[in-house]
């Protein structure tokens, strides 16, 4: 049987090459993400640093680990998704070959053995290549992390020998798993299908597609409800999970959408070519759905992620604007409170210094668990004058000595609790005096003015005349109007969002682009005879290419439609989480990102479709029509 696998392999190489590429890149991506994650998790802080520097590096690694954890999850998901859809597609493409085998006496089990044998072969080749390709991918990923400052500079990811086993296991496992489901279906191919022309008998929306599609759809709805219920920082990873399940659901249900898109498409592209393209879309539902799948993944993740982070950022901006009651914000390198208060035109000033410390929670037998928290040391009276300063219980005015006020994101504390802390040069316990409402923009904790360290700080200033007060303050540090300060915060946040997106998804999304090319090539490999028939019927080569191009535009439309549906689901989940947390009604739709992604997908699919059609129509048609085998 393996020899049989080998000879089909030799014969159908474009299809299998596509499958190998998908396994190879999937393995490279997973391997690189895993090695980078493990390297970050085991990175040692170099000795001889000050406590502050050491803490900054430690926090940097913690941030990198959580980012890389998400990257790894995404890499796994996209790899499994792309590989399994590629393999399922290759199996569907060979329905007739398989029926022929059944006709010559192959049992169902033998068909499965053949397909799984092929998957093994492809998995082994793909994994071996993937391990090599993974090395440069890892370098790129590390470079991205350090240049975006998600990991301390000097961070490098190292090779581990055990990764060979993991990568081989991933590649082969994913390939075989991807083919298992498809092979069960393929084994049910009836021998008679060898005698009929392809497609008619192959029902695309199978019972299992329905069941799993609806199952994942229901799961996604549940997750989205959970996202809005959980809120806060946990909502972002959860909403990415919701994108996973939504994408899976839509990929399974995609064949239902193909005719829906094909119909209006036929109206737009009138004329004989449009008609032909529309007919091809309908008959090639499986092909259309397979090509649309990676497009959907790309759109769903990029638009979904950009939309959720954009929504969070916009909500933060609105929240800060709502909270701040100041006119000017002054940033300085050290304490200058008296001189700020003495400046002309200043009526109120709140001195605020950032404090990073660890909060301990009792983890039972494991002793204390310490978590890093960013807080702000303030004076309650002047803070209340320049901020909305709402509390849910307790009193902010009690904030003096060893005390804190906390938001729910700092943990489950009640007024009067004693909070164990590691605070440089400070007490070992802080008493909770007030509970603050949930916030997106921070700070998570307010500390008493007695805990205010030396070093950089900001002053929120109210002035009778902001313009008149500015020159006096400008001598002390950098001064901005509140509006300008909020804008700058917003810009910085958006830059970070973009960087996070690139670091998190850049590689995976490149992978989906290659998967698109792959799907187009695999789809075209089976259509030489069809193209030839069209040309014998009287279409010029240009018209055949034009039809294929029109089809590819429609396929992109299908992918984009489904991707946007998945993304919108995620964004709505995030928006409702934001509403529950801070009571703001915000949705930010990333139009420019959406436009860019659609344009890229369109160009990639259209160009590869035109090129493959050109190459598939190079042979004079009559030769292909005559020779069916």
């Amino acid at each position: 049987m393996l020899r049989m696998s080998w000879s089909t392999f030799r014969d159908r190489w474009p299809v299998f090459l596509g499958a190998i590429v998908s396994v190879c890149l999937g393995v490279a991506l997973v391997q690189s993400s895993l090695l980078t994650l493990v390297s970050a998790a085991t990175a040692k802080v170099p000795p001889g640093l000050s406590a502050v520097e050491e803490r900054a590096i430690r926090d940097g690694y913690v941030g990198a680990i959580s980012l890389l954890g998400m990257t790894l999850g995404l890499a796994f998901f996209v790899a499994i998704f792309v590989v399994s859809s590629t393999f399922a597609f290759t199996v569907a493409q060979r329905r007739r070959d398989l029926a022929l085998l059944r006709l010559t006496g192959a049992g169902r089990r033998q068909v499965r053995t053949l397909l799984v044998g092929e998957a093994l072969l492809l998995g082994v080749i793909g994994s071996a290549l993937g391990m090599l390709v993974g090395l440069p991918v890892m370098r790129v990923q590390t470079a991205m992390l350090t240049s975006f400052e998600f990991a301390p500079s000097g961070f490098t990811a190292q090779w581990r020998d055990w990764i060979i086993a993991v990568s081989a296991g991933t590649g082969i496992g994913v390939a075989v798993l991807g083919v298992l489901a498809a092979s069960r279906r393929a084994a049910r191919v009836r021998p008679l299908e060898a005698l009929r022309d392809l497609g008619a008998a192959a029902r695309v929306m199978t019972a299992s597609r329905w069941v799993f599609g609806l199952f994942f759809l229901a799961g996604s709805v549940a997750l989205l409800i959970l996202v809005s219920a959980v809120g806060g920082e946990a909502a972002l990873p959860l909403s990415i999970n919701a994108t996973f399940t939504l994408v899976t659901a839509f990929a399974l249900l995609a064949p239902l959408v193909v005719p829906l898109v094909a119909a209006p498409f036929g109206l737009v592209f009138r004329g004989k070519l449009g008609l032909l393209a529309q007919a091809n879309l309908r008959t090639g539902v499986r092909r259309s759905a397979s090509t649309a799948a990676p497009i959907m993944v790309l759109v769903a993740f990029v638009v979904g992620m950009a939309g959720t982070t954009g929504t969070l950022t916009e909500a933060s901006r609105q929240e800060i604007t709502r909270e701040l009651r100041g006119d000017l914000v002054l940033t300085t390198d050290g304490p200058v409170g008296d001189r700020v208060a003495a400046a002309p035109g200043v009526t109120a000033v709140s001195e605020e210094a950032p404090v990073s410390f660890d909060v301990g929670t009792d983890a039972g037998e494991d002793g204390m668990e310490w978590e890093s928290v960013d807080g702000l040391a303030i004076s309650p009276a002047s803070y209340a004058e320049t901020h909305r300063a709402a509390v849910t219980s307790g009193n902010l005015a009690d904030l003096s000595g060893a005390t804190v006020a906390v938001t729910p994101s700092a943990g489950r504390w009640r007024v009067g609790d004693l909070m164990p802390v590691h605070l440089a040069g400070g007490p070992e316990q802080l008493r909770v005096v007030a509970l603050l409402p949930e916030t997106l923009s921070g700070p998570a904790v307010l500390l008493s003015p007695d805990l205010m360290p030396d070093g950089p700080r900001q002053y929120v200033v109210r002035a009778t005349d902001a313009a008149a007060a500015t020159p006096g303050l400008a001598a002390l540090g950098q001064v901005m109007t509140t509006a300008a300060w909020v804008d700058e915060y917003n810009d910085r946040q958006q830059r970070t969002n973009t960087n996070v997106m690139v670091a998190l998804m850049g590689m995976a999304m490149l992978y989906t682009l290659i998967a698109m090319v792959n799907a187009v090539v695999i789809a075209a490999s089976d259509r030489r005879a069809e193209f030839a028939a069209a040309r014998v019927t009287g279409l010029t080569r240009g018209q055949v290419v034009g039809t294929a191009l029109a089809e590819s535009v429609a396929v992109v439309a299908i992918g984009v439609l489904l991707g946007v549906l998945a993304a919108v689901g995620t964004i709505i989940g995030m928006a409702s989480a934001v509403r529950d947390m801070v009571g703001l009604n915000v949705t930010s739709l990333p139009w420019s990102m959406f436009g860019a992604v659609v344009a890229i997908a369109l160009v990639v699919v259209a160009v590869s479709s035109v090129l493959t059609t050109l190459s598939a129509t190079r042979t004079p048609p009559i030769r292909l029509v005559a020779a069916r085998e």
Partner: protein
């Protein structure tokens, strides 16, 4: 891998029991509203060691008859027996075994596996049956269809007639009790078709092969021992020892 090997029928059955028998077979396609009766209460038996041609206009049900008789399609009503075995309700595994040992197929489009050489194509049914085919055995079958020197060629490197002969060799390698042929000469030119037909004739005459063949070509039908005519899913006529002219005349009458 299914390793169960059935005993091959060593010799063609000597009894007068038919090789294939259809009893009151009806085959209905489509749902209630668009119901098509492809076969309507057909009774027919194909004698062992005989060659029968099935004819009829397009849509008369001749291909359906072949598919039902060969166990490729389930019947809606009635019973089908091949080589004494009732296959009406046979499981997929049983039908697979049947295809490996009891029946062989030849089609208009030769349906060879493009990636395999002629020799590998011919050996495929034996491999699928879990046997390790002997090289000599396969070569002999190829030689019997006059392709001893083409064993290593792939289908794309063979002419249409040669491809069909490879397909016949593949069908015959398991020494099936019945060979089912669907328009075996449909894609061949007249001269090549004649070669293929005389090869089938020789198989019937010398080794007592049973052949059931669907065709629309009177010349092909005239090579058979008997022609049966189908119209609207029913048997309407038959001819023993037909000539091309007789067949063409009957056909013209039934197609009016």
């Amino acid at each position: 891998m299914d390793t169960q090997t059935r005993q091959l029928p060593a010799e063609p059955p000597v009894t007068t029991a038919p090789a294939v028998e259809l009893q009151a077979v009806t085959r209905v396609y489509g749902a209630r509203t668009a119901e098509v009766r492809a076969l309507d209460d057909v009774d027919i038996a194909f004698r062992a060691g005989s060659w029968t041609a099935v004819m009829g206009p397009s849509g008369s049900g001749k291909s359906t008859l072949l598919h039902c008789a060969a166990g490729l399609e389930r019947v809606s009503a009635g019973r089908v027996r091949i080589a004494g075995q009732d296959i009406t309700d046979a499981s997929d595994a049983e039908l697979t075994r049947l295809r490996r040992t009891v029946v062989g197929f030849v089609f208009q489009s030769f349906n060879l596996i493009g990636s395999l050489s002629a020799e590998q194509n011919v050996a495929m049914p034996l491999r699928l049956a879990g046997r390790r085919p002997k090289r000599r055995e396969v070569r002999e079958v190829l030689a019997s269809v006059g392709l001893a020197d083409r064993a290593g060629h792939r289908p794309a490197e063979l002419s249409g007639g040669q491809q069909q002969r490879v397909a016949i060799a593949r069908a015959m390698v398991t020494r099936p009790a019945v060979l089912f042929a669907d328009e075996p000469t449909g894609a061949l030119d007249t001269r090549t078709a004649r070669t293929v037909l005389s090869m089938l004739r020789a198989m019937v005459d010398t080794s007592g092969q049973t052949i059931v063949m669907v065709t629309h070509d009177p010349a092909a039908a005239a090579a058979a021992d008997r022609v049966v005519f189908l119209g609207d899913g029913r048997l309407v006529d038959s001819l023993e020892r037909p000539t091309t002219r007789e067949v063409a005349d009957r056909l013209a009458r039934w197609e009016e």
